[in-house]
């Protein structure tokens, strides 16, 4: 207990992300220098732009979406599985939620609730497929979810174009029928006004940022405090020990994947109910993949994932200023990638170092074999 919070232990916990950040910045600097840009000026420009109120709001909004996606991925990591299919679970969840949600009008809160349920059910069902293939036919979920991503994106394109589309006069944007107002979730600008922050052009934080927060608590509770979460983690840590302890491995695969899909289905809801109010052809892609990176960076921990989501959001938003300076915005992807890769390597190094420390601690305690 006292060991847990010893200065050394805290230093070790912080060491990996710090090393990763320094390393990530270093690699990005090299990339910038190769292209004859000053790293310092670039970072300063990003910092100045990124810390403006409007940018921070965008960061939170983006972060909320990433956060939910990353929680979905992390759930399967905990179970020793890898749901790369989050991308298409998000997409199909959003598409069906938009289509069904626009069919009727309900009292405001109830309407939102129904849409959320639809989104997560569809996500769960799409995640059920790879789980079934794994349990029944032994197909690795890594490959099958990748294939289902491609299939899902073709399927959603087809459904949108041929079945769910609402033609808007004078616009060539392909979109579903807009959601009625009862399904809209207002932004939180008025709250910010109350603490003295003035309106910004892009609008305030999405109301469903709270959904992300709630899901974070839910994730943490399920994983750490419930029997199901323990079974999940045990399966991930040692499948043999888990089944000896009475966990049914097949059932666990199906439940973990479906729960992950249910989370994933919700990822785009803050945007859809807060801003776009429909599913459009220009639906943002890649959220699921970014979610994988964030889950890894956040070590499958609800708080760690939250910080990582905000970091990724910050980098992405603040890089937009660079276009004005003639630097490719995509530098942020290189930064994210470099941070991620150095982080996973650093975590592994710290883990090995910890093992050695543990052994030494035992030796000091005078414990012998």
């Amino acid at each position: 207990m006292s060991r847990r919070f010893s200065p050394q232990s805290i230093a070790l916990t912080l060491a990996a992300p710090l090393v990763a950040a320094v390393f990530g910045l270093g690699i990005s600097s090299i990339a910038l220098m190769i292209t004859h840009n000053s790293p310092l000026e670039t970072f300063r420009a990003m910092w100045d732009y990124g810390t403006q109120v409007g940018s921070l709001i965008e960061m939170v909004n983006l972060g909320a979406v990433y956060y939910i996606a990353a929680l979905a991925v992390a759930l399967t990591f905990k179970a020793g599985l890898f749901n790369i299919g989050v991308e298409s679970q998000i997409r199909l969840g959003a598409l069906f939620a938009a289509w069904i949600g626009a069919m009727f009008t309900l009292p405001p809160v109830l309407h939102v609730f129904v849409i959320l349920v639809v989104a997560s059910l569809v996500g769960a069902m799409w995640a059920f497929l790879p789980a079934l293939l794994k349990v029944k036919r032994g197909v690795s979920e890594v490959i099958s979810t990748i294939m289902l991503n491609s299939i899902g994106s073709a399927l959603s394109a087809y459904l949108l174009a041929d079945h769910f589309q609402q033609l808007v006069a004078g616009s060539n944007n392909v979109t579903t029928k807009p959601l009625p107002q009862s399904a809209w979730v207002p932004d939180l600008m008025s709250w910010l006004n109350r603490v003295g922050i003035k309106d910004v052009p892009g609008g305030g934080p999405y109301g469903l940022v709270f959904l992300a927060v709630a899901l974070g608590f839910l994730y943490s509770f399920i994983v750490n405090r419930t029997r199901f979460g323990f079974d999940l983690r045990a399966s991930g840590a040692s499948p043999t020990a888990a089944s000896v302890s009475g966990v049914n491995p097949k059932r666990m695969i199906i439940l973990a994947m479906m729960l992950s899909g249910a989370f994933a289905g919700l990822a785009m809801m803050p945007v859809m109910l807060g801003e776009s109010h429909a599913y459009t052809l220009g639906f943002r892609g890649g959220v699921g993949f970014t979610g994988i990176a964030i889950a890894l960076l956040g070590r499958n921990n609800a708080v760690g994932i939250a910080f990582s989501s905000l970091l990724f959001g910050f980098l992405e938003v603040s890089a937009r200023i660079l276009e004005l300076n003639g630097i490719a915005t995509e530098i942020y992807i290189i930064m994210q990638g470099a941070i991620l890769l150095s982080a996973v390597a650093a975590y592994e190094v710290v883990r090995r170092y910890r093992e050695t420390l543990n052994a030494r601690a035992l030796a000091r305690a005078g414990v012998t074999a």
């Binding site: 207990m1 060991r3 847990r4 750490n224 405090r225 419930t226 029997r227 199901f228 979460g229 323990f230 079974d231 983690r233 045990a234 840590a237 040692s238 043999t240 020990a241 089944s243 000896v244 302890s245 009475g246 966990v247 049914n248 093992e355 050695t356 543990n358 052994a359 030494r360 601690a361 035992l362 030796a363 305690a365 414990v367 012998t368 074999a369």
Partner: protein, 502 residues
Amino acid sequence: MNELAVELRHIVKKFPGVVANKDVSLKARRGEVHALVGENGAGKSTVMKVLYGMQRPDAGEILVDGQQVRFRTPAEAIAAGIGMVHQHFMLADNFTVLENVILGSEPTKHGRIDTAAARARILEMAAAYGLDIDPDAMVENLGVGERQRVEILKVLYRGAKILIFDEPTAVLVPQEVDELFAALQGLRAEGLSVIFISHKLDEVLRVADNVTVLRHGQTVAEVAADSVTAQDLAELMVGAELPTAPPRSTVPHERVVLSLQGITVGGQGTRDLLHDVSFEIRAGEVVGIAGVEGNGQHELIDAIIGLAPCQGTIVYNGTDISRFSVARRRDSGMGLIPEDRQREALLMGSALWENRMLGHQRSAPVARHGVLQLKAVKADAAVIMREYDVRAPGPETPAHALSGGNQQKFIVGREMSRQPSLLLASHPTRGVDVGAQAAIWEELRKARDAGMAILLISADLEELMAMSDVIKVMLRGRISGTFDPQRTTLEQLGVAMTVASA
């Protein structure tokens, strides 16, 4: 032929937390089979790893053919003519015998592996030392004895003059042991030195010329095999600490806790892994299962706990549980100490308090309405650690940081905490130091006297004799004999373990 082939002088090897070798010395001559004996944890394997270049000694000297040497890798030891036949075979299952043998020193011709030359050489060696093998067979299709021959050929192929055998008979059936010993005589006759690690004293006396005895990481004696008895060696090995079981003062109850009727577990081939096994365990009774490893003991546990699909009926406390899930069986009060604790009974990377929940996650005090009671669990883990003398800094310590004995004590404590009416204990004291062994025996005895039924599987016949009320012997998936430990000898058990009764 009496020159020293290898000599170890005062080897010291420390690991974090453990001194594995305090002071080990050993001399092996050419044309000699030299046995290295000692209890589990006496440091036998460590000193051999030092000799083979897998570990570097902290102090001491190694001499090969009178020259002082210092090995940094096994490759250097191999070059000096030392070979190791590992206890756990190091073979690629998906390779042929030939590929396994030549790996690392492949003969080539124009850049291509010269398979014909390799095959000829292997067959020649096989004939010379009496190691019958088909070089083109896939290793995955070989039996244990054949695999061991492949390991020996690997070593000989590299021109080893000194062969280390690490507990080679642990996995063999008696006929295979005979074949191995014949091969060892062949090696000796060719002038090679064999270092034979074992804790089975009768085998040692059968095969060895000289014996070095280790105790707690120290050489305590070097004796000629024909000048000592097994009893002498045993006393040298354990010193004064030989734990003995007091006679039991209670008697088993009449109530049957577990009843197996015609349990059969099918195998991949034609033979059943477990065939028509029936017996009962009563409250307060210890039923011991003896047998050479791999004769259905593991399948028996799996069948009872529900991991292996089986035919037959299992009645537990009056309820037919044949179709119950693993979870339901465990929750109805079956304690389990599995054979391979690190794989089956622990989450090695997780804290001890998390491990406290494993297998108990569905019932109080661990969970209520599906919610874990973390406070209660942590407190309970601390209690188990105190009561069962688990030596670790605290419940937050990860399981992998503990020694094998302490891991096992924690598992025993965990399983006992629910006061199960039945305990399935598979090799509960394997790889555990003498102190922990005595403690575990004491706990089992106390629980038995309080009315717990125990199924005890062990490879240690003395443990079985001391603990059991009745001993069943398993051979090829069947019960080949039932014995009363009070009126039976080790020899009788040995016969039942190896020869199918009429």
